[in-house]
Amino acid sequence: MIINHPLLGPCDAQEFTYLGDARLIDRPDGMAAGAEAAFFDYDYLRDNPAGLHRELWFHEQGDRSWLVVTRNTVTHEITNVELARDVARNSGRSA
């Protein structure tokens, strides 16, 4: 698979390591009420769709950036690649 890095252009997926569902960006607040249940959900439960899946890939052997890759889990087709930093900022996660 080729991942089209937003800054570096097309890179072999072998340069990356995979973390999983891009929802892992949305880490729950450990101090909030109901944090225990929220962390169980966050740590262990997955939607695991057959079709489009947004997932986190780490460019370990490249520029060490985190990407959010939208990929079809049935065909391996990649339709969108974003910097995880931008995704987190747009959702209000970081400055």
Binding site: Q14, F40, D43, Y44, N48, P49, A50, R71
Partner: protein, 416 residues
């Protein structure tokens, strides 16, 4: 119809006109007492033991394609019970004992071949780990034998003993491990279940569950609604998709695992060998092909094919251990969709919906578990209590911190 040597001779003398189909092709009834979704090894074994051991009747197995077309036909056919943790080892040993009596039990030649499995040792730390594992196995009634490098060399002289990075320093053998003809497992269980009155309904896809007031009343299928007292789901690979129709999210990701077969060779590899340090394992089929595999591709996938990078990685591992492999042509390869659970161990449990039961999360160890998985799931469906050897395989173990993390990888399904 029973198979026997006498029967084969009789049919040979009378033109083979007496053979009948091994199972029927029935129309679905409006309602069953128990419906099993998934006509793979685990689903068919569940139906067989429900009828035979737990004396249940009015059972159906529903399969979206044809029986044995899923993971039971897409694996590397190895059986073993060389696990370590308390929640696992008794279960897999129970499974191995069932394999040993399987063919006599269901009167079908599944080619159970106890040719032995050998985990190779490449470092002192690995030796310590395997000694501990061997002791855990023996404490649970399984067999284990520690071999020196010389003993390994006598049995497998062609392995690469002098590899600079991973020299072979010995091995942990389980002589009762081996291989089984995987398709025959599905066919044998199907035939056994059918002869006990189980309806095996193929080409019937489940499209939803009918759930009212927290009670599962049956399944919607491509061939109409079928009512059920209890529904058991055993669709490894597609567990998340099927259970999502009941509104459940699971601690499971689907990943693809590739396997390979070489051209047919004369007998070269007496047993199953595993190369844990490089992750490669290999056996030789009865037809002569070397059957081998390695790691999963490592990202969520429902494609029954993988990518070339993993092919290269597996073959590099194989070449490092078994240099002669470089002269062998690869015949074919395939990918199976694995139900990777968050701790690498399976789930056999009731759900929060009455009458709905779940069996899945086998990661890539589902084939060897087939008989015990079927038996324990049948026990759960009949009695509503877990079988003693599968008591740890509960949904709530993640919430309660009682994970069975055989490989110590934590909540990282792509690493198990």
């Amino acid at each position: 119809m029973r198979y026997s040597g006498f029967r084969v001779i009789k049919e040979a003398l009378t033109g083979h006109k007496g053979w009948t189909p091994a199972w029927r092709d029935p129309q679905p009834k409006p309602k069953y007492d128990i419906i099993i979704i998934g006509g793979g090894g685990h689903g068919l074994a569940t139906a067989y033991y429900l009828a035979k051991e737990f004396r249940q009747s009015n059972i159906a197995v529903i399969e979206k394609g044809w029986i044995g077309g899923g993971n039971v036909g897409r694996n590397t056919t190895i059986i073993r019970s060389n696990y370590m943790l308390d929640g696992n080892e008794p279960f897999y040993e129970f499974s191995l004992k069932l394999w040993e009596g399987l063919e006599q039990d269901f009167n079908y030649n599944a080619m159970v071949s106890q040719r032995g499995i050998l985990n190779l040792i490449h470092s002192d730390a690995q030796r310590d780990a395997y000694i501990r594992r061997g002791n855990a196995m023996m404490l649970n009634g399984a067999d284990a034998e520690l071999l020196s490098a010389e003993q390994v060399r006598r049995e497998y002289p062609f392995l690469n003993f002098n590899d600079a990075r991973f020299p072979i320093k010995g091995g942990l053998a389980q002589r009762r491990g081996g291989t089984v003809r995987h398709d025959a497992v599905a066919w044998g269980y199907a035939r056994g279940a059918d002869s006990l009155g189980v309806d095996i309904i193929q080409n019937c896809e489940v499209t939803g569950f009918r759930i009212e007031n927290g009670q599962c009343l049956g399944v919607e299928t491509s061939r109409g609604f079928i009512g059920a007292g209890k529904v058991g789901v055993a669709v490894a690979g597609n567990s998340s998709r099927v259970m999502a129709q009941a509104g459940m999210r699971l601690p499971i990701e689907s990943h693809v695992l590739q396997a390979f077969v070489s051209e047919g060779l004369k007998p070269v590899l007496p047993g199953v060998i595993t190369f844990g340090a490089g992750h490669f394992y290999c056996s030789q089929s009865d037809k002569g092909g070397l059957v081998f595999g390695g790691d999963i591709d490592g990202y969520n996938s429902y494609a029954q094919r993988g990518n070339l990078a993993v092919v290269e990685d597996v073959i590099e591992g194989g070449m490092a251990l078994f240099p002669g492999l470089g002269r062998v042509r690869l015949l074919r390869m395939w990918g199976g969709v694995m139900d990777m659970s968050m701790d690498g161990s399976p789930i056999i449990d009731r759900t929060h919906i009455d009458g709905l039961y779940f069996n899945g999360g086998w990661c890539y160890g589902g084939f060897k578990a087939t008989p015990a998985s079927g038996w324990c799931f049948a026990h759960l469906l009949t009695t509503d209590t877990p079988h003693p050897t599968a008591a740890a395989y509960r949904f709530d173990r993640f919430e309660k911190g009682r994970m069975i993390d055989e490989k110590g990888m934590g909540a990282q399904p792509n690493l198990h």
